[in-house]
């Protein structure tokens, strides 16, 4: 499949998500207003006239196709509705939170991937040794310990007991930075613990994946031939074994982009980190449906984009996926 076709498929997927996002509240029992406004909350509107006015305000009295048209137009121009809890545009909230999550997840992804690739390949190279067996056991353990438990332990140790790192937040409240460097340092200090927790949470599964994929590749005929060619160990290990193990690894990254966001919800909550995860958590607690929907849309878009990027990388990495090929 070419790049263009892939892009089209992703756009189509995004449109389906958009439509689901529109249809789901309307398919629920009652009307979207009932879904928007929880009867048990203090915001619930009892007066039918006010409800009708509200319905008119939100355009719910229009025919469905018109509603859909307005909804699509709004979504594409960045109008995701207003938060009921904070009475601010959802788009504004998301724009404020998204960079923090991207920073957190991106950092964790980068470190966990790099570590997994290095240790996984080395472990596979020495398969059966005590180091390999130890690493495999440790990563199975790591992959199964709950994220918040790891985060809590790190927080207790480095934050509460040693007081090396801040306990919460994305930056020091009310701080004024004399320079960009100072700002970066402060944000970095706040990033360390949550990013470390998320890195550890992702590391176990990634390590096992790289290690097992590499073990399989080491058994391939072309590895034997590469050895027979008298190539140096580094070339065999990195140039051939890891290079081929990258293919399943990138596919895994694409498939697990969504999982990274889920992990982020726990961690951002635990560390009071001002990202999307915490926004979702807070909105769910307050039943702030417009924010939940908006955040869901944005997260979907981010995950799809990540998938698309992973696909592009796979295409670069694996010539067998390319159409037609380079013969000529």
């Amino acid at each position: 499949m070419g790049v263009g076709r892939r892009a089209f498929v992703y756009l189509l997927t995004f449109w389906v998500i958009l439509t689901l996002n529109f249809l789901l509240p309307r398919l629920l029992p009652g009307d979207p207003l009932a879904a928007l406004l929880d009867p048990s909350s203090s915001d619930y509107v009892y007066d039918p006239e006010v409800r009708a006015a509200l319905a008119a305000y939100y355009g719910l009295d229009r025919p469905l196709p018109e509603q859909y048209g307005r909804y699509l137009l709004g979504a594409l121009t960045g109008d995701l509705g207003r938060s009921i809890r904070l009475n601010r545009p959802v788009a504004e909230l998301v724009v404020g939170r998204l960079p923090w999550t991207l920073l957190l997840v991106g950092t964790a992804l980068l470190f966990s991937s790099a570590l997994a690739l290095l240790t996984g390949t080395e472990s596979a190279w020495r398969r059966g040794s005590w180091a390999d067996r130890g690493l495999v056991s440790a990563s199975i353990l790591l992959a199964n310990v709950p994220v918040y438990f790891v985060g809590m332990m790190l927080l207790l140790l480095f934050g509460a007991r040693l007081r090396w790192l801040p306990l919460a937040g994305g930056r020091t409240p009310f701080a004024r930075y004399p320079s960009a460097l100072a700002a970066a340092l402060d944000i970095g200090r706040h990033l360390i613990l949550p990013a470390l927790t998320l890195t550890l949470a992702m590391l176990g599964a990634k390590f096992l994946l790289v290690r097992n994929a590499t073990v399989n590749i080491l058994g391939e005929d072309f590895m034997l031939v590469a050895r027979a060619k008298g190539l140096p160990e580094g070339r065999l290990k990195w140039g051939h074994a890891l290079r081929n193990a990258l293919l399943p690894f990138v596919a895994h990254l694409a498939a697990h982009a969504g999982m990274a966001v889920t992990g982020a919800v726990f961690i951002e909550t635990l560390f009071s980190y001002p990202g999307m995860g915490r926004l979702i958590f807070e909105s769910v607690t307050a039943r702030d449906y417009p924010v939940i929907q908006g955040a869901f849309l944005v997260v979907s878009a981010v995950v799809l984009t990540a998938n698309f990027l992973a696909d592009l990388i796979s295409l670069r990495l694996d010539p067998r996926l390319r159409e037609g090929g380079a013969v000529g």
Partner: protein, 574 residues
């Protein structure tokens, strides 16, 4: 001497304890500019040898000695091996489809060893790989392609170019023709043959493709269950195999020139984790003696051929020298004497199927009767397993005669019509006085089962006239088998049967011959029929053997006028 392999042993640990000896004491050498083939069945250890030569087995698995220009390679560190691999000894691997890394361009993979071994720059290495590609018949576009874009034949060539890249002293080709269609195989063989003629390199061809080995090598070593059983010049070994295994292997190989049906070697190769004691081939060997079960035969020089066999190779089972027989017509003058057989000389080897073909009255039945001792010859002698049958007397003669059984043309000649089936089959045992009555009964039942007849009381009680022609012929065959002979002489065994029954009995005869490892002399006028199972054909005309040769040669290139006449007269449909 460039490459010297001495007593190479490769042992793999199965579950940490049990050792699997894949290669057990193999020795050979390879001089520059010469070529050696290693042939054998799948699992004989061929690929294990190839990998041992490049040090690709885990350390500690390989024992013995591999010397390259006098330098010992066994036990070298991975680092030291690295300098030997590809630079001195290169490999064209067996698994063509998966031997190239799927993510790199073919050209880069050919250039890779050039960069690491010779320190060429990327551009220089690419230039060199273009030259190599030309040499093996690939175009620049093939180098720019990824492995999955090439056909099997192109990949094989790319692997060859890769192996040649550092101009190695020894090139190991592991099953170079496997998985190739016939046309690309032919082109590849031309290419390899041309490479061989360029000289300089020592070429080791490991293959079960005997024709490829015949084409590419000067010497050949036959590998069986991790051991060499025969080594010699390729043309001689293939023309005149001396070890029973080599003989069987060659007969199992299908080539265009063989008119005969394929035959396998009876039994199966041994489990490498649990090889049989003594000679590893003895359970499948037709001539195995007690010593073969106990002692491992060493590979020794027997008349210029290296053979691992206690008996010195394939044995001659029966030899007839200058047999003569003249019949005088009753009451006639001496001039009216008929010379039925004139100076007939023939050999039958262990486990061989020989056909004696000739028209009616050519003397073939007379010759057959002299061979089995039914008719005393006027001159010449018959030697069975090294002892002269024609000179033996009394008990010795009886014992020797039981080693050869005759199946006569007309089954009614063989058996008395008064006897029941049980009695017919048991009679030879009664005459020879073998075993207790119970043992005889058991042997009778077993023989009947072997020839595909029921051993029910009802059937055992039948008499000859109650049986069909095919059934009676099988009873006669069972009768011949109860004495466990080494040779069966079958005189027109199927001429009285209809075509379908003919085919069944001939196939049965062949099957029993293979399974029991007996030799078979098939006397027949029907060249079309016997060529299907005969290893060798003798043509008889007016009491003389006028032509003798491998079945396929006789059928495709007859030399004697009379053979040609017989061939032309053979039945043809359409």
């Amino acid at each position: 001497m460039m490459l010297m392999v001495q007593d190479l042993r490769v042992t793999f640990l199965l579950d940490g304890k049990t050792g699997l000896r894949a290669v057990d004491g193999v020795s050979f050498d390879l001089a520059p500019g010469t070529s050696l083939g290693i042939v054998g069945e799948t699992g004989a250890g061929k690929t294990t040898i190839a990998r041992a030569l490049l040090g690709l087995h885990p350390s500690g698995c390989v024992q013995g000695s591999i010397r390259l220009d006098g330098r010992e390679l066994v036990g070298l560190s991975e680092e030291a091996w690295r300098a030997i691999r590809w630079r001195r000894i290169a490999l064209v691997p067996q698994s063509v489809g998966t031997a190239l890394d799927p993510v790199y361009r073919v050209g880069d993979q050919i250039a890779e060893p050039l960069r690491y071994h010779l320190g060429l720059s990327p551009a220089e290495a690419w230039g060199r790989s273009l030259e190599l590609a030309r040499r093996v018949g690939l175009e620049p576009r093939h180098l720019r392609a990824y492995p999955h874009q090439l056909s099997g034949g192109e990949k094989q060539r790319a692997l060859l170019a890769m192996a040649l890249s550092c101009a190695p002293d020894v090139l190991v080709l592991d099953e170079p023709t496997s998985g190739q269609d016939m046309l690309s195989r032919a082109r590849l063989l031309d290419l390899l043959d041309a490479l061989r003629r360029e000289g300089g390199m020592g070429l080791l061809v490991i293959s079960h493709d005997l024709a490829a080995v015949a084409r590419l090598t000067e010497r050949v070593a036959v590998l069986y269950a991790g051991q060499l059983v025969e080594v010699g010049p390729t043309a001689e070994v293939f023309q005149d195999p001396r070890h029973p295994y080599t003989w069987g292997l060659l007969h199992a190989y299908s080539d265009m020139s063989a008119a005969r049906d394929l035959r396998g070697i009876r039994g199966a190769p041994p489990d490498p984790a649990n090889p049989p004691p003594g000679c590893r081939f003895h359970p499948r060997c037709t001539q195995a003696i007690d010593r073969c079960r106990r002692e491992e035969p060493p590979l020794r020089d027997i008349g210029g051929r290296w053979i691992a066999c206690h008996l010195g190779g394939l044995q001659t089972l029966l030899r007839a020298e200058g047999l003569r027989k003249t019949f005088s017509v009753d009451g006639g003058e001496p001039e009216e004497r008929v010379e039925a057989v004139r100076e007939a000389t023939l050999d039958i080897r262990e486990g061989e199927v020989v056909a004696l073909v000739g028209e009616t009255g050519s003397g073939k039945t007379t010759l057959g009767q002299m061979l089995v001792g039914l008719l005393p010859p006027d001159g010449g002698r018959v030697v069975l397993e090294g002892r002269e049958l024609t000179a033996a007397r009394g008990k010795e003669r009886r014992a020797m005669m039981s080693r050869i059984q005759l199946i006569p043309q007309d089954p009614f000649d063989a058996v008395s019509p008064r006897l029941t089936v049980a009695e017919m089959v048991r009679e030879p045992l009664d005459i020879q006085g073998i075993g207790t009555p119970e043992e005889r009964e058991a042997k009778v039942r077993q023989a009947l089962r072997t020839v595909g007849l029921p051993a029910s009381p009802d059937f055992l009680a039948r008499r000859a006239h109650e049986l069909s022609g095919g059934q009676l012929q099988r009873v006669v065959l069972a009768r011949a088998l109860v004495l466990e002979p080494k040779l069966i002489v079958a005189d027109e065994p199927v001429s009285m049967l209809d075509p379908s029954e003919q085919a069944r009995v001939i196939n049965l005869l062949k099957e029993i011959q293979t399974e029991r490892g007996l030799a078979l002399l098939l006397i027949s006028h029907d060249l079309a029929l016997v060529r299907k199972i005969a290893d060798r054909i003798l043509v008889m005309h007016r009491g003389q053997i006028v032509e003798e040769g491998p079945g396929n040669r006789i059928v495709t290139r007859p030399e004697h006028e009379h053979t040609r006449m017989l061939l032309e007269a053979a039945p043809r449909l359409g």
